[in-house]
Amino acid sequence: MPETRSRIARIAFYAAVILGAVIMLFPFLWTVITSITPDGSLSKGPTLFVEDPTLDAYRTLFDTLPMWRIVLNSLGVAIVSTALQLVTGSMAAYAFGRLHFPGKNIVFGAYLATLMVPLQVLVVPLFIEMRALQLQDTYFALLAPGIASAFGVFLLRQAVSAVPTELDEAAVLDGAGHLRIFATIVLPQIRPALATVAVFAFMYSWNNFLWPLVVIRSPELMTLPLGLSTLQGQFTTQWDVVMAGSVVSIVPIAMVYLLAQRHIIAGIAHTGIK
């Protein structure tokens, strides 16, 4: 606070910063602490310093649920759906941003219309559709709503439109077709937008709960949020196990987050300003 001269204001400022950090971090810390507290001591009331830390809760967790499988499912579905959205989205963006075809505005309008309908509203009919196709409780069903996103198309189209067309013209003179212009000229130019879409797609898939809850039954196909939610019923009072599950599901995303932190925050800030 450069303009703050008074000492009190500075102290208050740092107190607020620290208070903020404590409020934001403490629940995570508490989750870890609980997960290593022996089950018996939990009922006696919480303590910050665990006297006899144990990994029993994690053992119970991995005995109850196919946790490795569930973590891999979550990662796999998130990665595949992100990749698919980037491919389908950037291709559509190229069509809307670069090509001329009859009915372009109508088609684009239809894409935008699908944006207005959140998955929450579609869950019931989508479930019925999957059941009719006998696809419920499969990886495909898990992925289906995440293959293409109009949101991604929309963001990417803005980026494609901003790429100067002079570059293509030079390539056309060299005899390049649309596929080559798309892959070698446009795609490298829209990397920041691709990163933003990737962040949203990944986080959306990773955190998605309602759709897996509706369409998945087998534990082997569950994603983390769904797997965790089933713990709740089985271990109503065993908070150490539930918290161990929470830790296991936080760690992978926290690692992704720490690695890609800049891109993630920039991506979200970017959608806000625009």
Binding site: H100, Y111, T114, P118, V121, T165, N207, G245
Partner: protein
């Protein structure tokens, strides 16, 4: 996060894409063939996204409208009932209740997350050591899934031996029953939700703050404006586009709240925190009233649409684009 997109469109109605100018009419035949070829290529580029969107968004949209006009329990054959489902829902007090709970959720969540997020953004907009670290810390809950957040807060707010009540007890303060108490169930969910989204709002507002040119502040300071005046007259108005974005997203997401309610309270105790999407879920998968659930989905959709349109309308009155 797909929901975010709706606002994307809303925030700044962008002009149509800068279209590439049509090719000069050199030889008509050649250009016609070229146009046909380009349309074919457009088809190739569009199909990978169009097919899944038609199959997994548009088809269910249409089929749910169709289902909502029938009586159907997911098993027996459908029976045409016209608008009966809508009529029943609109006269059923339960519908009003779940919408009221949803509204209460939004009304509690939005001020909390906005004021908190703005506070954090203002703090982090100052020069201070470890700013990147703090920003990362504040943001961590955003990448955590709703289910985890709900479980963790259920434990923090556990009436029996949760840490929050332990602390309140030590301080001699009353210890609410939190998510086990009908009066406290929604507030508990609101608290957890605001905590999760604070970092998101902070990042959006921080970006907005950093876009405000610093000359404005310097000019104001030269004119002798106090810190409060600078905040009220410069920061808030110039932040209004970001604020608008946050409000629209929060409203849209807020009306669709489900995950954290389902995990923390299951809509209980005795329906005290049942929200619209929870009702849709229960109608379908608990009571087998899929047709009514579809009708309720459409009512929710219309409400969302109306809220968004009102937002865009009212926007002109209070959002200043620099």
């Amino acid at each position: 996060m797909t929901q975010a997109s709706v606002t994307e469109t809303a925030v700044e109605p962008r002009s149509e894409a800068t279209e590439t100018p049509p090719p000069p009419p050199l030889r008509r035949k050649a250009s016609k063939r070229r146009r046909r070829r380009q349309a074919l290529w457009a088809l190739v580029f569009l199909l990978p996204s169009a097919v899944p969107l038609v199959l997994f968004t548009i088809t269910p949209m249409v089929s749910s409208a169709w289902v909502s006009l029938h009586e159907w329990n997911l098993i027996s054959p459908m029976e045409w009932v016209g608008l009966d489902n809508y009529r029943n829902l609109l006269t059923d007090p339960q519908t009003g209740t779940v919408f009221l709970h949803t509204l209460m959720y939004v009304a509690g969540y939005l001020p909390l997350v906005y004021v908190g997020g703005l506070g954090l953004a203002l703090l982090l907009n100052q020069k201070l050591k470890g700013r990147a670290f703090l920003r990362a810390t504040y943001f961590l809950p955003v990448v955590t899934s709703w289910v985890v957040v709900a479980l963790v807060w259920q434990w923090l707010l556990n009436p029996a031996n949760g840490i929050v009540n332990e602390v309140l007890g030590t301080l001699g303060l009353p210890q609410p029953g939190w998510w086990t108490d009908p009066d406290w169930a929604l507030p508990s969910v609101i608290l957890a939700s605001a905590w999760k989204d604070l970092g998101f709002v902070m990042v959006i507002l921080l970006a907005g703050l950093q876009a405000i040119p610093s000359d404005y502040y310097e000019a104001a300071r030269v004119d002798g404006a106090s810190a409060w005046q600078r905040f009220y007259r410069i920061t808030l108005p110039l932040l209004s586009p970001s604020t608008f974005f946050v409000v629209v997203i929060s409203l849209i997401n807020g009306f669709q709240v489900f995950d954290q309610v389902y995990v923390m309270t299951g809509g209980g105790p005795s329906g005290a925190s049942q929200v619209v999407v929870g009702q849709i879920y229960d109608l379908t998968f608990r009571y087998g009233r899929a047709a009514e659930a579809s009708a309720l989905s459409w009512i929710l959709f219309v409400v969302l649409l109306v809220v968004t349109v009102i937002q865009i309308r009212v926007q002109r009155k209070w959002v200043h684009y620099a």
